[in-house]
C-alpha cells in the first residue's frame, strides 16, 4: 500500500512535465507535421484538409510530400539552411573565444566578487531581448552612436556601413548569446581543481600545453553545453538577422517568416520548420551522447 502510494506520487510528479511536453510540444509538432504534408489552397485555413470523405463511406487520405521535395529542389532553402548553419557555427566559435576567458576570470575571481560578476553577466536579461537588439540599430546605423562619434572626432570622413551587414548579425548573435556560453563554462571551470594545473607545471608542462591537455579536457562538458546553447537557437534565429542583417543575409528563420506571413504558404512554411527541427535534433543528440558519457566517467 505504502509502496503503491510512493509510486503514485512519483507518477504524479513526472506527469506534470510529461503533460506539459505533450500539450505544448508534441501536439503543436503534430499539427505542424500535418500541415507540412497538406496541399496548399487559397482560403482559411490556407491548406487542404488531410482527410476528406470521398464518398460517404470511403475516407480519403492525401499526403503531399512535394513540399519537402520543393525544399530540396529550390536552392533558396538549401542556401538559407547552409547559411544558418554557417552563421550559427561562426557565432558559436566567437562566443567560445570571448566566453572562455570571461568565464575563467569570473571563476578565478575573489569569491566576494564572483556573485557580483555573475549577476553582471545576467543583467542584460532584465531588458527585453527585442529592445536590446533594437538598441544595436541605434548604435550601428550610419548616423548612429559609433559613426557620429568617429565623424565628430575626425577619425573617418564618411560613415562606415555596419548595419544590414553580416558583421551586424554576428555582433548581435554573439552579444545576445554570450551569457548562455559563459554560464556553463563558468560551472565547469569553477569545478576544475587548480592543483592539477600546478601538477602539470611541476611535471614540466608549459602553460599553453597545460591548457590543451588538462584544462580543455576537464572543462569539455562546459564547452559542449555552452556551444549547443548558442548554436541551436542561433540556427533558427529570426529577430537578429531581420533587424540587423541585410537583404542578402538569408537565414532559415527569416525564410520561414516570409513563407508564412508574406507568401501565406503554410504547408511549405511547416515543411521548412520540420526540416529545421530535424537539422537541430542531430546536434542535440550529440550533446546527449557526450553528457551521458561524461556521467559514466565521473
Amino acid at each position: 500500500m505504502k509502496r503503491f502510494r510512493l509510486r503514485a506520487g512519483r507518477a504524479a510528479v513526472s506527469a506534470v512535465p510529461a503533460l506539459w511536453l505533450l500539450l505544448f510540444f508534441a501536439v503543436p509538432f503534430l499539427i505542424v507535421l500535418k500541415i507540412s504534408v497538406s496541399g496548399m489552397r487559397l482560403g482559411m485555413p490556407p491548406y487542404e484538409p488531410l482527410f476528406t470523405w470521398a464518398t460517404s463511406l470511403v475516407l480519403d487520405l492525401r499526403i503531399h510530400l512535394d513540399n519537402y521535395a520543393f525544399l530540396w529542389q529550390d536552392p533558396l532553402y538549401r542556401n538559407a539552411y547552409l547559411n544558418s548553419l554557417r552563421v550559427a557555427a561562426v557565432s558559436t566559435l566567437l562566443c567560445l573565444l570571448f566566453g572562455y576567458p570571461l568565464a575563467w576570470g569570473i571563476a578565478r575571481a575573489n569569491p566576494a566578487w564572483r556573485n557580483l560578476l555573475l549577476l553582471l553577466i545576467m543583467l542584460p536579461f532584465w531588458t527585453s531581448f527585442l529592445l536590446r537588439v533594437y538598441a544595436w540599430i541605434g548604435i550601428l546605423k550610419n548616423n548612429g552612436l559609433i559613426n557620429n562619434t568617429l565623424l565628430a572626432l575626425g577619425v573617418i570622413d564618411e560613415p562606415i556601413v555596419m548595419l544590414q551587414t553580416d558583421f551586424a548579425v554576428y555582433l548581435g548573435i554573439v552579444y545576445s548569446y554570450l551569457p548562455f556560453m559563459v554560464l556553463p563554462l563558468y560551472a565547469a571551470i569553477e569545478k576544475l581543481d587548480m592543483t592539477l594545473l600546478e601538477a602539470a607545471a611541476d611535471l614540466g608542462c608549459r602553460p599553453f600545453r597545460a591548457f590543451l591537455t588538462i584544462t580543455v579536457p576537464l572543462t569539455w562538458s562546459g564547452i559542449v553545453a555552452g556551444s549547443l546553447l548558442v548554436f541551436i537557437p542561433a540556427v533558427g534565429e529570426f529577430v537578429i538577422p531581420a533587424l540587423l542583417g541585410g537583404p542578402d543575409s538569408l537565414m532559415i528563420g527569416r525564410v520561414l517568416w516570409e513563407e508564412f506571413f508574406n507568401n501565406r504558404d503554410w504547408p511549405v512554411a511547416s515543411a521548412v520548420a520540420i526540416a529545421m527541427l530535424v537539422l537541430l535534433v542531430v546536434p542535440i543528440m550529440v550533446f546527449q551522447h557526450v553528457q551521458g558519457r561524461e556521467g559514466a566517467v565521473r
Binding site: E198, A199, D202, L203, G204, C205, R298
Partner: protein, 381 residues
C-alpha cells in the same frame, strides 16, 4: 649539539661534510602584511630526507611551494645544486612535487599520469613506456596501469602520485603531507616504503608534515617551524632529546616543563631551583645563562621513574607525589602525579608486568618520582 650519539640510521644516510645541495638564503615571503616565511636560511644535503615540521599556518607549505616555484620569495634566493632557481617557473625547475591531494589527472589512466612528465620532454615513445613501466613496477602498480584514478584506493593513488613525481628523476622531490590521506596502518607501512624508495633512487626528499611521528620516522633531519621561522634544525634525536626552546620541547612529543632559577652553574653541572617542582634539578651538563636567570627545565615523561620507596642518595632529582590519574594504553601506562606544589607531572612507564597483577601502583597512592641527572634539558627561551 654535535656529540656523537648512537643513531645509526641517520649516520648511514648523511655525510655531514657534504656540500649543501639545496640552499635557501634569507628567504622571506609576505602575503600583504602577513609574513608567511620570515627570513629563513636553510641548507639541505644531497640524498637526505629533510622534514619541515610545524603546525598549520607555520609557513612550511609556503616554503615548499617556493622550492617548487609556485610562489616567488618576496626577498632572498633559492639555490639547487649550485644553480640559482629563484626566478624560474615550476616547469623549468629540476624539482618535482607530490601533492597532498595527489593531484592525479582524472581523465588519464595511471600509465598516462606517470608518463605525463616524460611526454613534456620529447622523449622517444619507447623510452617513455619503458621508464613509466619501470616506475610503476617500483611502486607495485604495474597491473593497474590501465585504470583511471577514481578506480583506485587511497593507498594506490598515493603510490601512483609518487611514481609520477619520481619518473623524471628530479634532483629534489617535494612531498606535501605525503601520508596524511592514508589510514594509520597503511601510513606506518608506507613510511618505510618511502624510505626504501628514497634509498634505492638516492633522490633528495623535502617532506612537509604536521605529524611529528611521521617526521621522526622519515627524516634524517628535521626543521621545526613556527610563525614562519625555523626554530631548530637537527636530527630526530637532536630535536627530541636536545630541544633548543620550550616551543620545540612542547611540540615534539609530550614534556613536563618546569620554570626555575639557576642557582649553581658549573662547567659540568647546573642546579636549578624550581618552586613548581618544590625542589631542585641537578643536571649534568652546563648552560650558558647568567646565574639567577629564569630558565625552563624540560623533562620527558618516559625518563621519570615511579616507585613506592624513596630512592637512595641525596635530595635532588626526586620528588614525592600522589597518583591522580592513570591511563592504560596497552604497551604503556600514563600516570599523572600531583606534587605538593599542586603541579601535575606526566610519567609514562612501559607495562612490563601484565595489567591486573598484584603490587601495581594504583590511584591515590603516595609515590616517589626520580630521574637521572642526564635526563632533564635546560631551555632558556
Amino acid at each position: 649539539m654535535s656529540n656523537a650519539r648512537p643513531d645509526q640510521r641517520t649516520e648511514a644516510r648523511q655525510d655531514t661534510r657534504a656540500e649543501p645541495y639545496v640552499r635557501l638564503e634569507r628567504v622571506t615571503r609576505k602575503f600583504g602584511d602577513f609574513v608567511a616565511v620570515d627570513d629563513v636560511s636553510l641548507q639541505i644535503r644531497r640524498g637526505e630526507i629533510f622534514c619541515l615540521l610545524g603546525g598549520s599556518g607555520c609557513g612550511k607549505t609556503t616554503l615548499l611551494r617556493m622550492l617548487a616555484g609556485f610562489e616567488q620569495p618576496t626577498s632572498g634566493s633559492i639555490w639547487i645544486d649550485g644553480v640559482d632557481v629563484t626566478g624560474l617557473p615550476p616547469y623549468e625547475r629540476p624539482v618535482n612535487m607530490m601533492f597532498q591531494s595527489y593531484a592525479l589527472f582524472p581523465h588519464m589512466t595511471v600509465e598516462q599520469n606517470v608518463a605525463f612528465g616524460l611526454r613534456q620532454d620529447r622523449i622517444p615513445r619507447a623510452e617513455i613506456k619503458e621508464r613509466a613501466g619501470a616506475m610503476l613496477e617500483l611502486v607495485r602498480m604495474r597491473e593497474f596501469a590501465g585504470r583511471k584514478p577514481h578506480q583506485l584506493s587511497g593507498g594506490q593513488r598515493q603510490r601512483v602520485a609518487l611514481a609520477r613525481s619520481l619518473v623524471k628523476r628530479p634532483k629534489l622531490l617535494l612531498l606535501d603531507e605525503p601520508l596524511a590521506a592514508l589510514d594509520k596502518k597503511l601510513r606506518q607501512h608506507t613510511q618505510f616504503e618511502l624510505i626504501n624508495i628514497q634509498e634505492t633512487l638516492g633522490v633528495t626528499f623535502v617532506v612537509v608534515t604536521h605529524d611529528q611521528e611521521e617526521a621522526m620516522t622519515l627524516a634524517s633531519r628535521i626543521g621545526v617551524m613556527n610563525h614562519g621561522e625555523i626554530i631548530q634544525v637537527g636530527t630526530p634525536t637532536d630535536i627530541y632529546e636536545y630541544p633548543n626552546s620550550r616551543f620545540v620541547a612542547d611540540f615534539i612529543g609530550s614534556v613536563n616543563l618546569f620554570e626555575g632559577r639557576l642557582v649553581e652553574d658549573e662547567p659540568d653541572y647546573v642546579r636549578i631551583a624550581s618552586d613548581e617542582l618544590g625542589g631542585a634539578f641537578y643536571i649534568s651538563h652546563g648552560v650558558s645563562a647568567a646565574p639567577g636567570a629564569v630558565v625552563w627545565v624540560a623533562l620527558r615523561p618516559e625518563k621519570i621513574q615511579i616507585s613506592r620507596e624513596q630512592p637512595e642518595g641525596d635530595g635532588d632529582n626526586r620528588i614525592a607525589g600522589v597518583v591522580a590519574e592513570i591511563a592504560y594504553l596497552g604497551d604503556q601506562s600514563v600516570y599523572l602525579v600531583r606534587l605538593a606544589s599542586g603541579r601535575q607531572v606526566r610519567v609514562t612507564q612501559p607495562n612490563i608486568v601484565r595489567q591486573g597483577s598484584a603490587g601495581r601502583i594504583t590511584w591515590d597512592e603516595a609515590v616517589w618520582l626520580s630521574w637521572d641527572a642526564t635526563s632533564p634539558v635546560v631551555v632558556t627561551q
